[in-house]
Symmetry: C2
Subunit: 431 residues, 2 copies
Amino acid sequence: MDSGQEDASRSRDDAPSSGHQRAESRRQPSTPEFLREVSLTRIEGIRVGHVQKVSLVPGKVHEMRTLSLKPLLFEIPGFLSEDECRVVMQLAQLKGLMESQLMVQDGQEELAKELNLSPEEIFNLLDINQDGQLQLHEILTHSRVRDGIWLTPENLREIYAGLQADKDGDGLLSLEEFRLLSNDAFQRFLLQRGVKRSQLVRNSRHTWLYQGKGAHQVLQDIKARVTRLTRLPPSLVDLSEPLQVVRYEEGGHYHAHHDSGPVYPETACTHTRLAANTSTPFETSCRYITVLFYLNSVDGGGETAFPVADNRTYDEVSLIQDEVDLLDTRRNCGKSNLRVKPTKGNAVFWYNYLSDGRGWVGEQDEYALHGGCVVTHGTKWVANKWINIDPDYQRQARYQQLVSQQPEDEDDDDDLTLNTDVESPSIHQDL
Amino acid sequence: MDSGQEDASRSRDDAPSSGHQRAESRRQPSTPEFLREVSLTRIEGIRVGHVQKVSLVPGKVHEMRTLSLKPLLFEIPGFLSEDECRVVMQLAQLKGLMESQLMVQDGQEELAKELNLSPEEIFNLLDINQDGQLQLHEILTHSRVRDGIWLTPENLREIYAGLQADKDGDGLLSLEEFRLLSNDAFQRFLLQRGVKRSQLVRNSRHTWLYQGKGAHQVLQDIKARVTRLTRLPPSLVDLSEPLQVVRYEEGGHYHAHHDSGPVYPETACTHTRLAANTSTPFETSCRYITVLFYLNSVDGGGETAFPVADNRTYDEVSLIQDEVDLLDTRRNCGKSNLRVKPTKGNAVFWYNYLSDGRGWVGEQDEYALHGGCVVTHGTKWVANKWINIDPDYQRQARYQQLVSQQPEDEDDDDDLTLNTDVESPSIHQDL
């Protein structure tokens, strides 16, 4: 349920610069307050189990049920018709699907080199509880996404054995033991031994379907229906990523992840990059909403799991324990707080960001963590519609001006408005 | 933090007619949809720990911190000045405080008689897990509030011994054992033995201070500040209960309770009763918001506890276990999810009802369960401002028309509006 870009953003989430100070630093607004003419609708969840009727297509009323409040998550049975599901799957087949994840991702290795950390420094970052030893879960918490290979505690024990890393055999790595390992020792060991698809973070194939003018009517209809559902300005939906169609074969999965990364002042959104200060060192997907469509009913497995939905607290560290890893959707979907069964035509949607309290996008909602449980029987087809919004309002507005080719008025930043129709730039309508 | 009326509403909550079907029955609106001209503001919580600045008094900015989302709960340090706290306590002393709870409440006994249940029927209602035995917690769950005396498992064991109720001494009551007890056997036993203040549901004294025209300026100021804080129509705040001032001596407490009862079609709100159909059999306090002011800093104890704040689920039955009773604020405050320390001048406020999703009051928020922990050192002074709103919009509107002495237009119910200023009925302003 994601493109490849997102993995990069997650690994930065694991980086030392983020952490407890993040929430604090966001509390002080770095830019002066200003009046905006846009206020994004956020649908009320009321309480888990609440059902509201929504009008999405003429002559039909859909029911929308609240599945959780953290994240704000809804299910709409029968959002797509059987025919629509069939057409979307056929269009994706025609276009061809590609592997969602290549065997090895690089780029992250380079980042580590750039930061130029000593083995001691890396050891200290990994050692969460600062006991001078690396427990298995401390390795997993930091190293999994960097390698693009999903490590389990058993894998790690095999690696330790293969590399003779754990000299004293106590299942822990001391600084002395750690120092003897090269930076990419684990990765090289795994690649030498061969990596199976089931050992990757995601095990699926996907493609992208354009939904603008000239696209198949079904795809345009779906886009319009998503706009009605989310009650967001049409321009925001129009300028978002194409529809992503994903196919999981039997045995396919997608371990738990966030569709969007956290956004700091120094981070740019992928979709507004051309309007951003080019010197921003980091980039992440900014997907305010995920709409997930089930294109078929799966014979066995393949649920969408939300491990920490409506948890009282979010504690990233306790997600991965030495024995139970809640992010592992091949093993521990049963321990997730919430699981949605894939049923043909149904849609779920959720907000990956909180509100900022002033009608715009706020902080990342960490509770939006989700994954695809392993498909035990048959094939699973889903589609994703992400609605991209930059948490930096000015950058979103500037981006929309750029793509609609309207002149930007440099003198009057506060009057920026979002166009409701980017396909007809001549029609300018304030929201 | 409540008047005596509320106990009656809670005991009905325990009655057989309520239960799992409640939420279902509320989902089908009993009255046709209509357009309203009022939409109640509900302040956004965003996330636990979120801080928003609010302007309540000229030349000062208060910070309002989100303490929980279930219930929607905020804390505002320095809401009242030291002088204001002093004046409120002095005014309450001048007026005189009365016992918050009399030793024995009747009226409930009569209700049981009216329902005319057989011992077998009562046994079956009490036997939650339907195992043909009454565990201690099954007695506590149902019988505590009916008697107005707070029962602990130890109390019950003493009662069993004194009444020779548990013939076989297994700590459980069988139907045969239960049948030998009279309806009010427990209560009569406790009264004969003598009831201490610490054994009551609440152990405090309180009084009411009128806040309308002619009242002390401090009281009028507080009302105006509450209106600004809650962003609700002034008429709703003006027509609410007076300010309640409560004093807890050392050893004082208030076990966990709801300030408002659930509202069914057949239930009327106390404050709108004069505008309601007089045949409604039940009555409850309808307190949309509770604002709780701490008038002094307590030397020890006296926290406000929210046992299930932000819990993933609400399970009334599991609140009271054989060994741990989360409602007992003399014993188990330490197990509450959230505790607010009483600090002079601070205010907390929360919503006792959810939204109905259309700008009005919805279902009761069960997570708003709260109590006052035992005061271990010194005295505790608090004040409560409740904002009364009838979940039945028509009834609230009719009530406001009645008290503002405006003629009701029988032909056009949909045009009912809430007056913003009831003290000057000539000024009619639509919201």
